[in-house]
Structures are given as C-alpha cells and as structure tokens.
Symmetry: C2
Subunit: 256 residues, 2 copies
C-alpha cells in the first residue's frame, strides 16, 4: 500500500532533502523513522529535493508499507520517532497510481527577506537581510516580466540535470509588511517546476530591480542571455517550499 505524507521541516540543520552517506538530511531522518516503525527498510520519496538550509511548510512525500495502522494515524506514529525539526502533519492512502515526484502539477515557493539597518536575530533563521530598501512597484514590474512560459536557463546554477530549461511560472505575488525595525518582503512563486536554485536567483533579481537595477537584464536573460547577467543567488534560509499541488485533494477530512 502506498501512503502520502504532508511533511514540514525547518531546514536549518539539514543538509537538504536527499539522503547522503554521512550528512543529516530530511530523507535520512524520515527513512530512519519509517524503517523503525515498519521494521523493514522503507524509502521515503519527496515531490522534489530541497537544498541545505531550505525550509518546507508543506512538502509532499510518499512511502510504501504494509501496516495495520489506519492511514490517518501514520503521521502520529511517525512523529513519535521524528525530531522536533521534521514532522508529518497529515497522512493518507495515496490515490491509485500516485507518484509524488512525477505527479506534482504546481509548486509554490516563498522567499522572505527584510530591510533593516542591522541584522535582526529574530528573523535570521527564516529570512535574508537587504541592505537597501527596495521599491515595491519596481519589484512588481520585475515579477510580471518573469511570469509565463520562458526558457529559464539563465536562472539556474551549474549542476542542474534537467532535460529542458523551459518552465511556466503561473504567478508571482509580492508581499510587504512593516516591522518595528524595518520592512518585511515576501516573493511567492507558483510554477509547474523549478530549475536548480531558480527561485533564489529569481528572488535575487527581483530584489535587485527593487533596489534600482534596470529590468533589461531580465529581458536579456529570458532571451538567451547567461547567468552572469543576473544578481547573485539569495541565501537558502529565506526560501520555503509552501505547497505542492497534484490537482486533487490528497488529504481528505478524517472520518471521525
């Protein structure tokens, strides 16, 4: 039987999602818990990898197991064996033929940054600091250029193994709210898939435009220009995988 899990983690102390020989990763922690729960090695696959330091509010994972535990109680069973920085929020029987990696139709990531005169210890874990206060309407202008189907080859770090660099960005929302010490900014990006470091590069370029850079680089980068046209990759700590959309509700309300 295949089960689907909604997983939340604080990425700070994980070397990314994917299992590695020596490092503490989200996958290794989930597989250790599942293997202990089911008494046999259990692989836990995700909708996609996240990098070291990247957080997830709603990562979707799957595992195959034979168990008499009711599907919606698997989360509680696994949580007893999981550390505080990685928990299973929901669990359910996967739909017929479900594949959490290939079945993902849309993903939403959110990048968070703040402007303040000094670094803010209470935001250090989940946001990057901007040294200059960006202009919101300029950020929105940059975002609108990035929406739609484009070849995002320039928005990709070396090391990507993707077959094509064409992706569709369905929408980019810019949010902003005042802080006692400055201003908070969020960039929420929904797309059908993302290249390696794409959201962090895209966010860096949107903030750069907000801080005065011309939008020419975006236009050129989307038309065959290279990675060096664009601002540097933003730090991992500001990035969060918000949700993964499969075109159907995976976690029906529990039968009480």
């Amino acid at each position: 039987m295949r089960y689907v899990l909604l997983v939340q983690y604080d990425g700070t102390h994980f070397c990314g999602y994917q299992r590695q020989r020596e490092e503490r990763t989200v996958q290794s922690v989930l597989e250790k818990a599942a293997t202990e729960a089911f008494g046999t090695f259990t692989r836990v696959t995700a909708s996609g990898r996240t990098d070291a330091g990247v957080h997830a509010r709603g990562q979707v994972c799957q595992l195959d197991a034979e168990t008499s535990v009711p599907a919606h109680k698997l989360s509680a069973c696994l949580n007893c064996l999981l550390p505080p920085d990685c928990k299973v929020l929901k669990s359910a029987v996967a739909p017929e033929g479900f594949d959490c990696t290939r079945g993902a139709k849309k993903k939403t990531y959110r990048y968070t940054a703040y402007y303040a005169e000094t670094e803010l210890p209470l935001l250090a874990r989940y946001a990057a600091r901007l040294a200059v206060k960006p202009d919101l309407s300029r950020m929105e202008e940059a975002a609108s250029l990035l929406e739609g189907e484009h070849d995002f080859a320039a928005f990709c770090s070396a090391g990507s193994s993707a077959k094509t660099s064409v992706r569709t960005v369905y929408g980019i929302q810019i949010g902003s709210e005042p802080l006692p010490e400055g201003q908070l900014y969020t960039i929420s990006v929904t797309g059908n898939g993302f290249l390696y470091n794409m959201v962090r590069i895209l966010a860096g370029e949107i903030f750069a435009v907000g801080c005065g850079k011309s939008t020419d680089a975006i236009v050129r980068a989307l038309n065959g220009g290279g990675r060096t046209l664009l601002a540097k990759t933003m730090p991992a700590r500001g990035l969060m995988l918000v949700s993964v959309d499969y075109g159907a509700e995976l976690f029906p309300p529990e039968e009480v």
Copy 2:
C-alpha cells in the same frame, strides 16, 4: 559617558541574560564584545534578566565607556563583534542620571502559542503548542481578571527575591490568527514589573481557562491563594520581551 542600547536576541541558545561562570549568556556575549571594542572590561546591564530560552525583540541595556565613536555608531561597532543571535539595533547617549534597571516604567512581554494537531517544526522555536483549541472569549475573560494592581504572589515560581509581590498589569491583549495548520494565539502583557516566571504562569492560566478551566482559580490566587491553584508554567520558547518603556524616547532619530 553612559550609553543606552536597544538589543535583540534569539534566546534559544542562551542560558538567559545574566552572566554565569561557564554558560553562554546574553550578558557575557555583550560584555565580551564591549570589552573587545573598548579595550577594557565593560559591564553591560539590562532592564531586567530574561530566563534561558526567552527571546527579546527590544531589550534595553546600558554600558559606561570612554570612546570617540559617535553614539549612534556604537551599535554597528558592537555588531561586528556579536554573534548572529544577539545584535544591537540602536545606540545613543543615555539621558542624565539614566539607570536602565531602575528607570524602567513599563515592560511589555508577549507569549505565543499555537493549536495544531501535530507539532509544527517552523513554529517550534518561538511558540508553544496547545493540544486543545482554546476559546478566545474565555481567554479574554481570564485576562480581564488579571488586569490592574494585584498581589501576584501565586503567579511566581520559587526563587524570587522581590521585596513585594504587588504589581500593576496595565493591560493584556489577546491576539489570534489562522494558520494553514491550525490557529496562532498571542498574549501581550504590559505591566510596571513582573515576578519570576509571572508572564509564563499567567499565560498558562489564560490558556487553561480558554480550554475550559473555571476562572475561580484566578480569583482565589489573586486573593491569597497559592501557586498550585494555577496551571503549569508555559515553556520559555514562547516568551518574548517586546519592549521596555522609560517614559521618554531613548533613541532620537539620527542627525544626518
């Protein structure tokens, strides 16, 4: 010359404010930076201690030093020597006769907790989890009983050295906002001073009433009843010192 500092820290990896022989504390980290900056041992006093694990968004501290660095640039100077989890947001020359401990007129603390079916890794550092969803109007009823001048002896853990346990709570605000996975609650308390663990005990009792406990215990506790009438002390991680009020603006806008 006396200087006043606005200090923010994430309390997670500090054994509280006060210097201790072996432990990492906020005071020891601030004094190490100040001593290095000024070349002579420099004491850094705060408006009050905070316990291990308690955060501060706007702690007020003072130090005495002879330096040619302009007062408003002391923050940047100290921040170069401070770790990411403790930073000086602002610095200024202290008013004549200023004493950051005895001069504090009001303090505001905020306690944050959430209701969700499971623990949430992304809130684990700054909020406590409630296993039952509290009722807001009951929480507000409990809060209103606690406002005003009272003998808060029952709202105090053993080990307090305060001369009197009479304190004035000027106001308690209850906040609530939905989360994707549940509901977030904040209890903001402003008072002229607080006994040892008073805010954590007070918050615990307000949540307990919200979850169904009678308000009788509060009435009895404020009228000579003992600590055991009340709910247990909430965990440190949900508590934050928001601000300290001295009845005057300590950090005037910089002269540019």
